[in-house]
């Protein structure tokens, strides 16, 4: 994994970027924090923030020309926050006596400050604090310069005098009524280690560096009105402060330019989308200064601009309270440590890899891709926890084994000739399709593994429909596309699976694949771009629906698009057309189509972190009062398990007589295996009229399973074949423990990398299960 590239991606994230107000404030008052304190009525804390960042805050807070207000995002929704008025209120309600500061030893060097106005005083006070010996030269007989022009209702003479007295109290020598001209300046430069020039005007043009305020690479630094384009007081103060930083560096003989990119006002890369916020007009002042309540109400209007688009949409990022930049730092740490605990593993395996983060990001940062790449790296380095994806990978192996996998061409005309008789040939589209058979497979129906597991009875109907409706022969291919390997970061296994699919495709002379599962769709698009794809749902729209007039109770449904289809807008439209054609109303969810959410199965989070998966489920099902309509078997499974009435598109197209489609509990993990095997059997027997070579795995022991144990079996990812195997070993070899007090048996069997335990009671031929559990740790029995 390229960690430099990873960190660069993290640096692009604008989550931590400052809001426009702070970026436009030349002294970077932390305005969001400032307003948050006011909102809480903590005026003293707000005052502390002003004191920290604003030179002469008691003066500037009253006369600041507030460049922060115009760009305020709130201006687009009611009006900018009145930050300037709030500063005045904070000075009124939050001011406290300044803390005594112990001066540093004055050993940094000597500095002459020319001009006793705002910028000069700012530079002088800052340098004095940094340990310089400062001398002020002022041409008039008082300090303050143009600050005196601001004296009025807001900045009273009393306050100004008080603040200027505080400067005088610092005991810096001040030379009043001393005019500094060119000659005097040369003299000062010869006498002092550095000179700050903060006069309103100068007799000749001075070239200065806009980053450091240094003139002619000399010991002269400039600021105030000389360098400011405007008469902004806050810019003036900021220039004095920045020049003081340069002078300190100059005296310490360190780089003047390092890490100073964001001094003064700058353009923040932050984007903030305020469109979702309700407009709120500014709170009006009932007197010259906001009352405390008014100030709190005004501060409350602040939307606290921060880019949280991806976090807001994602249960996973919210659960771990992670922004992409922070997440990436964690991954970087996890990738770099060799010995030690990889605390981020659980988090990395709790992402649904659904891609909504990228969709929501102004900068197209895809945490889904970053996390995916991390999982691949973890697998490569042997750091992927085995338990996270083991069950899903075994499930994939099952689907690609002879117990489910199947490839067949459409039954030939020769094989089907006994069907070509009247009236069948006239009325059955399927038989007509067989009659038109050419022997060349134009299409291969690939229903995936989860759809046959959830809808075993419909696969044959869909196949017959396809033979009867699409132009050209339709073959069938049962198997797993490899989505679990992809999600689990198992690239080697994934490539192997892709090669196997590709071989079938080549052997079948490159047919178009008809897909019904959105995960298959994503996998084929990602790994097999050379294969032409059609979605089953697109075909229904084009060729017409199979069953007519079967609407029972038309209702309004909310469509939950499968995250695997995020970028497939044609498919979204097809699904909506089908739903509308069937007579249902549609109410779109807020997060829909390309902005859909994950149901909680994606990325195998269902196996790696069930609690996180449940959070995905409960958030999504809470987003609509309507019944949901999905077109992915796992979405249906999870939503129904979460207690939400949910239809799969197939429930509507091939309705079952019981009318319980929206609440029907989906098959258990073991039943899913059995269903897949059953689909293979049904197809072989009824379409190809072959006697299946393998019979279904018959259960050897008759189990009685109480409901609580059934739930444990599911939650612990234990298959009934595991239980049967344990019992078989226990019964045949007597390898078990017995409890004479309760009459119970406890037996274990190691299968592959897991030891399964079954506690049971025998009653004649019934095996009553008491509990089942497993562990991965191996016990050496010797």
């Amino acid at each position: 994994m390229n960690l430099d590239k990873l960190l660069a991606t993290g640096d692009r994230c604008i989550h931590k970027e400052p809001p426009t107000c702070t970026a436009n404030c030349p002294v970077h008052l932390e305005i969001i924090d400032f307003l948050a304190e006011i909102e809480q009525g903590n005026f003293q804390n707000a005052y502390k923030l002003m004191e920290k960042k604003m030179p002469f805050h008691k003066i500037l807070g009253r006369i600041c020309d507030h460049p922060c207000e115009a760009p305020c995002e709130r201006s687009k929704a009611g009006g900018s926050i009145r930050i300037s008025d709030l500063e005045k209120a904070v000075l009124e309600y939050g001011a406290y006596k300044p803390k005594k500061v112990w001066p540093l030893p004055k050993n940094k060097g000597t500095v002459a400050v020319i001009g006793g106005g705002l910028s000069g005083l700012t530079a002088a006070v800052d340098l004095d604090k940094k340990g310089c010996v400062v001398t002020i030269y002022e041409k008039t007989n008082r300090l303050g310069g143009r600050l005196w022009d601001f004296v009025g209702d807001s900045l009273t003479e009393e306050v100004l005098l008080q603040e200027l007295k505080a400067v005088a109290d610092k005991k810096m020598p001040i030379h009043f009524e001393t005019t500094v001209d060119k000659n005097k300046l040369s003299e000062l430069l010869a006498t002092y280690d550095a000179v700050y020039l903060g006069t309103a005007a100068w007799e000749e043009e001075i070239k200065w560096n806009p980053l450091t305020f240094q003139a002619n690479e000399s010991a002269l630094f400039v600021g105030g009105s000389l360098v400011n384009q405007s008469d902004s007081v806050i810019f003036s103060a900021s220039s004095g402060r920045r020049a003081a930083i340069s002078i300190e560096r100059f005296l310490s003989k360190v780089s003047l330019t390092d890490s100073r990119e964001r001094e003064g006002a700058f353009e923040t890369p932050l984007h903030f989308d305020i469109s979702g916020k309700e407009p709120l007009a500014p709170i009006l002042k009932s007197a010259a200064i906001y009352s405390q309540d008014e100030a709190m109400a005004e501060a409350k209007r602040c939307v606290k601009c921060q880019c949280r688009k991806c976090i807001e949409g994602c249960v996973h990022l919210r659960k771990f309270e992670m922004s992409p930049d922070a997440y990436i730092r964690q991954i970087n740490h996890s990738e770099r440590i060799i010995l030690g605990t990889h605390y981020a593993n659980k988090m990395i395996n709790s992402c649904a890899e659904c891609g909504l983060c990228k969709e929501e990001c102004f900068l197209n940062i895809s945490m889904s891709d970053v996390i995916h790449e991390t999982r691949e790296s973890m697998v490569e380095r042997g750091k992927m926890p085995a338990s996270a994806h083991d069950f899903a990978l075994k499930d994939m192996a099952f689907s690609n084994s002879s117990r489910f996998s199947l490839v067949r061409k459409q039954p030939s005309k020769e094989e089907s000739k006994d069907l070509f008789y009247y009236p069948l040939i006239s009325f059955s589209d399927y038989v007509k399709g067989l009659y038109k058979g050419t022997g060349k497979t134009a299409y291969l129906f690939y229903p995936g593994c989860q759809l046959p597991a959830s809808y075993p009875d419909d696969i044959k109907s869909i196949y017959e429909y396809l033979v009867g409706h699409v132009q050209g022969d339709v073959g069938i291919y049962l198997g797993c596309c490899g989505a679990p390997a992809d999600w689990g970061g198992q690239q080697a296994l994934m490539q192997e699976n892709i090669e196997a699919i590709k071989r079938v495709w080549e052997e079948m002379e490159r047919p178009t694949f008809i897909l019904a599962c959105s995960s298959c769709m994503r996998i084929f698009e990602k790994y097999l771009p050379e294969i032409k794809l059609e979605s089953l749902w697109d075909i229904y729209v084009r060729e017409g629906l199979p069953n007519k007039d079967h609407i029972k109770t038309p209702q309004t449904l909310s469509i939950h698009d499968a995250c695997g289809t995020r970028e497939n807008s044609d498919l979204h439209e097809s699904v909506r057309k089908i739903v509308a054609k069937l007579g249902y109303g549609i109410e779109e969810l807020e997060y829909t189509k390309e902005k859909t959410k994950c149901c909680g199965y994606g990325g195998l989070v269902y196996y790696a972190n069930r609690e996180q998966s449940n959070a995905f489920v409960s958030e999504r099902i809470g987003e609509s009062e309507n019944d949901l309509l999905v077109y992915c078997a796992m979405c249906k499974d999870l939503f129904v398990s979460g207690g939400k009435r949910t239809y799969h598109l197939l429930d509507l197209i091939y309705p079952k007589a019981d009318g319980e489609a929206a609440t029907r509990k989906m098959p258990t993990l073991s039943e899913r295996h059995d269903n897949r095997s059953r689909v293979k059997q049904i197809l072989l027997k009824e379409i190809w009229r072959e006697e299946p070579e393998e019979t279904m795995m018959e259960d050897q022991f008759k189990l009685i399973i109480p409901d609580d144990v059934k739930q444990k079996i599911e939650d612990r990812y234990i298959l009934s074949e595991d239980i049967q195997a344990v019992l078989k070993n226990a019964e045949e070899n007597n390898e078990r423990f017995c409890n004479p007090e309760t009459g119970e048996y406890l037996a274990r069997l190691r299968r592959d990398n897991v030891t399964f335990w079954v506690k049971y009671e025998k009653e004649e031929n019934d095996y009553i299960l008491k509990s089942v559990y497993s562990h991965r740790m191996e016990i050496v029995e010797e």
């Binding site: 010995l339 030690g340 605990t341 990889h342 605390y343 593993n345 659980k346 926890p385 085995a386 338990s387 070899n733 007597n734 390898e735 078990r736 423990f737 017995c738 409890n739 004479p740 007090e741 309760t742 048996y745 406890l746 274990r748 030891t755 335990w757 506690k759 509990s771 559990y773 497993s774 562990h775 991965r776 740790m777 191996e778 016990i779 050496v780 029995e781 010797e782």
Partner: protein
């Protein structure tokens, strides 16, 4: 990994009809190897792991090793 069980005393090996004895047993997972006192049949060496141990301490250790 200490084993505390509530009901193991009543259990016995069904194959050998022997009482279980607390014995040092080797357990391993990933790159971790430990010795733990566990109830074991002295004759056929079957080791008894109850549910609380498998889903409690054992799982905790497994998870710890998986994150190493």
């Amino acid at each position: 990994m200490k084993h505390e069980s509530t009901d193991q005393t009543a259990w016995r090996c069904d194959k050998c009809q022997q009482e279980l004895e607390l014995t040092k047993v080797k357990v391993k997972y990933m790159e971790g190897n430990f010795e733990v006192d566990l109830p074991k049949c002295p004759s056929c060496h079957q080791v008894f792991i109850d549910e609380a141990l498998a889903l409690g301490k054992m799982k905790e250790v497994e998870e710890g090793l998986e994150d190493k």
